[in-house]
Assembly symmetry: C2
Homo-oligomer: 306 residues x 2
């Protein structure tokens, strides 16, 4: 019997790597998780995991959704590199090149949020919907935006976690903790900002705490700005902070109040519960998104028109 | 001698209409300007202007950049309509249909800012640059964003003038004058906000007035958000407020300070004077953009692949 065709996926996070071999959701053949240490050790483990699948010819393409700052400009000399980062050992690491040189398969690489957006568009909450936006609110805040099926890329990749939004110091005297911008969206609303402000992790703050209204206000301000500039047909909110499900109705209500009828789409006026949603793939948007990227790469390799 | 091939353009503003027949910049054969009154009268004048060019076969396509709210969803039953507007007589006006029914030519219609963005991309400051952003700061604030050569369109057209941005009531006690959002970007920084705050039109406020630093801060906050979400390769700032040229260096400096090195592109770190620029077509971005839209429409009509 011919061996099933499989794809490799790498969810390359700053804390841990998740490597998998699969043909789709619910069809994960093997998966491994290990902490992110030095580039040499981490990428050696990654290569070891995939080696037999590559040798047997079952895996010919691997997708990687990678923590950043990542150079994803195909025309750049450092395409596929992690560039200047405060994370020890990882500055100027050629992630794509190191994997490709040893495994000798085609590697599709993109940011972690773009990979998650691709996964959701292939199998999750934004299937068949374009343009779509995936935003993660966790240790950091970032977004991946797909238009015409592809991640938007311009001067560089998007950095929408660092938006400037209103911050009332009367309601919330916390000065923000983004090392670059102080009280930008990430500096006010990401996990570390919650912990620094309240002295405890967001996961342990009770639902009744009035802080959550402030958090919802920041998220809603940013979503309003995304809606006005990117006009997505669906917004998916993932990441650790959004595991607190009671935030969804709070955020939806605030978005509608802030827009105040200005965007007259029924998606917002009537069906906002179906417009701002949790990931359809749960916490697997990133790892399955990496598999989806590998599938797309193989498809474009096989398309004679491309 | 065969007659030269010409294109029709309509800059359909809320205050005045500019209709022209041209084959490109510097090649405007005839132009007419008249005030925007009722739809019947205004569109009758528009039709009269074009009639002979259409009858002679010289003009076969007309582009229209139109004030809004405008329905530009080709799949909508009200495509090409001005929808609900406080402007007397214009609510639910089928601009595209009325022109097409009488003139019997193909009409390309889009928002005024998208038309200006298209004009600048064809002949102006963003020629050959993609993605690009055109922002007008005048009576209102709006933006047109082109990606892969086309205006971004999602749930609806973009409304990026209404961004939520930081507003320090200590520095600027003015509460904002947007009827929908109070102190959104437009409510704080458009022409009427300046006039209401200072009791005089922006055009007469001296360059030395400290207010201009506040104005530049609002514009820079919005541009920072556009850069982080849309990553344009060029930003063009038009409209009446930006006629005050001294605002450009102020805005550029603030954008660079606010980003604080986070976007490491040389376009911002070194060449920001070439990144945030006035329109290459002066005050003709909109009217020439409408001509460009007509040319693009004829090209796609003639393309057997489309």
């Amino acid at each position: 019997m011919a061996k099933e065709k499989l794809y490799g996926g790498i969810e390359a996070g700053g804390t841990k790597f998740v490597c998998s071999v699969a043909s789709g959701p619910g069809q994960v053949v093997e998966e491994i998780r290990f902490p992110t240490t030095t580039p040499e050790e981490t990428l050696r483990k990654t290569i070891q995991f995939f080696q037999s699948y590559v040798d047997s010819g079952q895996v010919r393409t691997i997708g990687a959704g990678c923590f950043g700052p990542l150079d994803i400009d195909p025309n750049s000399a450092t395409y596929g590199f992690i560039t200047a980062t405060p994370k020890p050992h990882w500055s100027n690491t050629n992630v794509r090149g190191m994997l490709q040189d040893v495994l000798r398969v085609d590697i599709a690489i993109d940011t972690d949020v773009n990979a998650a957006a691709i996964g959701e568009a292939m199998w999750g909450a934004s299937r068949g919907i374009d343009p779509s936006l995936y935003v993660t609110i966790g240790t950091g805040i970032g977004g991946g935006y797909l238009v015409n099926g592809r991640p938007l890329f311009g001067l560089q990749n998007l950095e929408m976690g660092h938006l400037r939004i209103p911050h009332s110091r009367e309601l919330d005297p916390f000065e923000g903790c983004c090392p670059f911008h102080g009280d930008c969206f990430e500096g006010l609303a990401a996990g570390p900002a919650i912990e620094k402000r309240l002295g405890t992790k967001g996961a342990t703050v009770p639902e009744s705490d009035p802080f959550w209204d402030i958090e919802a206000e920041y998220i809603a301000s940013a979503l309003m700005n995304y809606i006005l500039t990117l006009s997505p047909r669906k917004i998916i909110l993932g990441g650790g902070v959004m595991q607190r499900e009671f935030l969804f109705p709070k955020v939806r209500n605030r978005v509608r109040k802030l827009l105040n009828g200005y965007v007259s789409s029924s998606a917002i006026l009537q069906d906002i519960g179906d417009y701002i949603v949790p990931p359809g793939l749960g916490n697997q948007s990133g790892s399955l998104g990496a598999i989806a990227m590998a599938m797309q790469l193989e498809e474009s390799n096989n398309d004679p028109r491309l």
